[in-house]
Symmetry: C2
Subunit: 199 residues, 2 copies
């Protein structure tokens, strides 16, 4: 018999379904919720349901949005001639946090993976081509990940876009900032050496 | 401007109020909730509110309970002549998990702390005495923590119970199991040496 009443057992069980939360942590969080002001617990509970109900994909960039078109796609200060292609919404968030990009996004739903039956039409290639055919875009920055599949997807997209008169670029690979050279893998070091530039 | 829509910003904010959950983890959990099946998110949301609504203190032991009297206090297989005194509900849970105790509990609401104005009547001493006066209890096990205040509280209770004809015991102190002697503090080692027993 569990030493907790069933309501708490249930709460612990549901919390421990979250990724990276073990039973001990779930217990601690459940105890915090029991002690916390009622308002705080209700806000947490409501925000979970609201997120599920309201959040959808922006119909332009396919990022997460509360509305049909996201804040970023409707922002007139963003450069509509620049388009950054990323794999998933989280990548867009990371890029936005860096503050390095001032254009708009196109979010694929993953990467090409012929072994798993994921072809171009499964990762919104048609939608990307349609955007480009509208003619406003001058540069497409390919910011898929640097995994084998991410690289292959970037190469594929670059090839497909070869017929349009626009610049296609790829984000740089190299030694991460603050990185200790002796811990950096050989492939990355090779990339960094090949892409060396004047100072 | 946050790269997330406001519903997600709100969810992240509420999750990061939980103890030990930083903003990064809150983001990860929020993303999981967005991807998870709707049913799972609703269950989590509902169990939070239910826990706040249903859980109260058992009117006998003052532990956490779904009903007026908790499962443990109504369990006829528990030895009603044994009473374990602990500081808080979490201590009772820990003791129950050890499976070492077969009696009932009395949960104080903390420890005596004259410096902070916490006197005997603030930690349910009256309720403890009333239980003992009913005459069924033969042994009281003092399982307050081994902090200075926990020890003082145990001493105080032992003294108060001196006038009743019952056994008052204190849980043993010593080297924790699996403990490496060289990392154990001096006070604990002294206690362990003083309380040495025949093999």
């Amino acid at each position: 018999m569990s030493p907790y009443p069933s309501t708490i057992v249930n709460l612990i069980k549901n919390i421990s379904k979250l990724p990276g939360i073990g039973e001990k942590t779930a217990e601690r969080l459940a105890m915090h919720i029991l002690r916390a002001p009622r308002k705080e617990a209700e806000q947490l509970s409501r925000s979970i349901v609201e997120a599920k109900e309201k959040v959808r994909l922006c119909k332009l960039c396919y990022g997460l949005s509360d509305d049909e078109v996201c804040k970023l796609c409707t922002d007139p200060t963003r450069d509509a001639s620049l388009l950054c292609v990323v794999e998933q919404p989280a990548d867009m968030v990371a890029m936005e946090k860096s503050g390095a990009f001032i254009g708009r996004y196109h979010i694929l739903s993953g990467v090409l993976s012929p072994m798993n039956g994921v072809g171009p039409e499964d990762i919104r290639m048609g939608e990307l081509i349609a955007k480009i055919q509208r003619g406003r875009i001058k540069e497409v920055v390919l910011a898929t990940s640097t995994s084998v599949e991410g690289e292959a997807t970037a190469s594929y997209i670059a090839e497909r876009l070869g017929t349009y008169s626009l610049k296609v670029t790829r984000i740089a690979s190299g030694v991460p900032m603050g990185g200790d050279l002796k811990y950096v893998d050989q492939v990355t070091l090779k990339k960094a050496m090949e892409a060396r530039h004047d100072l």
